[in-house]
Each structure stands twice: as structure tokens, then as C-alpha cells.
Amino acid sequence: MNARCDFCSGKARYFQRHSGTRFCGRCFTKSLRRRVWRDIGRNRIIADSRSIVFAVSGGKDSVACLDIVHPLGKARKIQMAVLTIDEGIRGYRSEGIKRARKAAKAGGLEFHVASFKQEFGADLDSIIERLGSPKKACTYCGVLRRWMLNKWARELGSDRLITGHNLDDEAESALLNLIRGDPARLARSGPEYLLSHRKLVPRGKPLRGVPGKETLLYDIFNGLDVHLGSCPYAEFDFRNAVRGFLNRVEEDRPTSKSSFLSTVDRMSAQARPLFAGTKLVECSKCGEPTVGAECKACQLLGSVGLL
């Protein structure tokens, strides 16, 4: 059998199970770009933006995201830069930073690295040592990374922070919020950014509708150099169990993740009036935007004696 692409009759390299479409690498690339550009327009992800910061880890999603969104930004004459957070994970992060730097250079963009060590006085490895267990590594890493991305994006003068979150990440987060019983967080989720504050750089997730497998295919078909390693702390995260569950469901019933996410988006839109009073204020300790008196980053840093 020599299956052909449904669009150009070139050799089929990928079968998109949810649509029943066969793609060669070139037609897949065209189709994915069109899909992401359409979502960017529909969700006004870079509408009215003058300056974008791309959060790039050097992994498959952020590098693909930069490659897809960069031409749009260039056509609209938007100022763009790449920001990488160095959490300080021995044997892992440096490989990603190399790829992020290379991706920034390929696009002719300014490249910035901001490190936990510089910002908080300790890298993630030493925070884990202080905790005595890697079980909460992803909680600390995620919260501190988001805090830094926002602060640095703002200080770089950007009005939009673009991240490479894909459909898998978003479906996992939605299910995690349901499992944790966090309706307020669920109500704040969705393609649009609802809370605003003068210190909060609005975030955009152009790959929100794209499965992780497709972002990696995009990288391979386009010869993009990405870091394929997995974080040594990731195995301890509960998200892993949720990811495995969703992948098994998707395997049996393609489109499950996207229909689940769109259902949750509709539910969160319905739930929004219940949390309409939620306002962002400045953290009493660091001054960064937060929903409580003290932001989560300061709480976590305080718990390991770094504040």
C-alpha cells in the first residue's frame, strides 16, 4: 500500500484520525498554519498588539508556536522577542535553552534568558532539596515560571505573552481543575483572557486547538530543532496520570480531547457570572498581580525560606 496525500497525491506521512485525512508533510504544514492563524484571528490573540514576547522553552510546542506566529507578527510589523526561563534543572534545561536561542536567531529576534537563581536566589534543584521531595516540583516550577514570564514580559515592554500550550495541555488542565474542585480557576480559563490588571501582560495560546503530536510533526516536517527530553521531575506530577487517562480515551475515540475542552469552555463561560467579583490586586509582598492578598509565588517562596 502506498497511501497518498488527500490534497496533492504526494506520499501520505500522517493520518489525522479525527478527520480521516491523509497528509504529506507539506500539506500538513499548510493546513496546521492555516488552522492556527484562523484561531489567532478568531480569539483576537495578537489583535492590536504592538509588542509580543514569545515564551520559548526550546521544546516542541513553543518552537512550533514561534515558527507559526512569527510571520503573522512580521507582516503586522509587531515588535517581537523571545524569552526563556532557566529554572535550573541539571542535565535538562540547558539543552532547551540552546534550541530556544537557535529558534530566536532563525527569526532574527532578540533573545532573553531569565533564571530562577537570579530572580529568587535559588534554582529549582535547590528548591527541591529544601522541600526534601520532588513531589511538588511541578507546582513550584509552574507558579514561579508564570510569575517570572509575566514580570519579564512586562519589563520588556510587551503587551502580549505568547505561550506554546497545546490541546493536550489545556485538556489536562481543565480535567485537573475539575478533579481538584476548583470552579473559580475553571471559570477563568478559556481562550479569552478575562482578568485584567495594569501589571498583567495578557497571554495568548495560539496552539490551544492543536494536539501535541501535531506540533511535534510540524517541527519534524519543517526541520525545526527541538529539545525532545523530558523533565526529570515530570514523573512526579499528578498531571501524568491525567495525561495517560486522556490519551487512552483519545486512542479509543479521536476528538475526545477537543470536544471535552470545548464543553469545559462552555461550562466555564456559564460559570463566569458566579465569579464576576474576582479582581486582581497587587501582592502585598512582591507587588505582582494576584487574586489574593499574597500571591502564590510569594507563598511558595516563603514556604522554603526564600522570602
Partner: protein
């Protein structure tokens, strides 16, 4: 009849950092059959042969060298 009984063996290297394995399959097996035999999900792996991505319906031949790339998020 003979072709149906014949087996093929492919060499599989999974990334990142997994040792090579030899997997025996029925003659006429496809890439999707290989993943099923290994207990892997199509959602979680990209399959490559001779440096190119191959689709799940691609037939396998005896002696094929297959590289599996794990789709891993987080980082």
C-alpha cells in the same frame, strides 16, 4: 498461505534513551500493528523509518529499522 504464516522482524529504537528492541510481527503488518503489539498508543508516538515520518497504515518489511519518538509535553 505461506505468506500469511511468515513472520517479519523489525528493529525498534524508542527515544529518548531507550535500548533497541527486535519485534516480530505477522507478514503484511503495518506501523499501527507494531504500536499495538508494543502496547503503545498512536497518540503518544511518532514513527520514523529511514529518517522520514511514516503513517500508521504504512506496511512494514522484514529488517526495517524503526525509530519511535515519544510525544511528551511539559517543559
Amino acid at each position: 498461505m505461506m505468506a500469511r504464516l511468515k513472520k517479519i522482524t523489525v528493529k525498534v529504537v524508542a527515544e529518548p534513551r531507550q535500548p533497541a528492541r527486535r519485534i516480530s510481527l505477522r507478514h503484511g503488518s503495518q506501523v499501527g500493528d507494531l504500536l499495538r503489539k508494543m502496547g503503545l498508543m498512536r497518540e503518544e508516538f511518532i514513527v520514523m523509518a529511514k529518517g522520514r515520518v511514516v503513517a500508521e497504515f504504512e506496511p512494514l518489511k522484514d529488517g526495517d529499522q524503526i525509530r519511535l519518538i515519544r510525544v511528551f509535553s511539559g517543559g
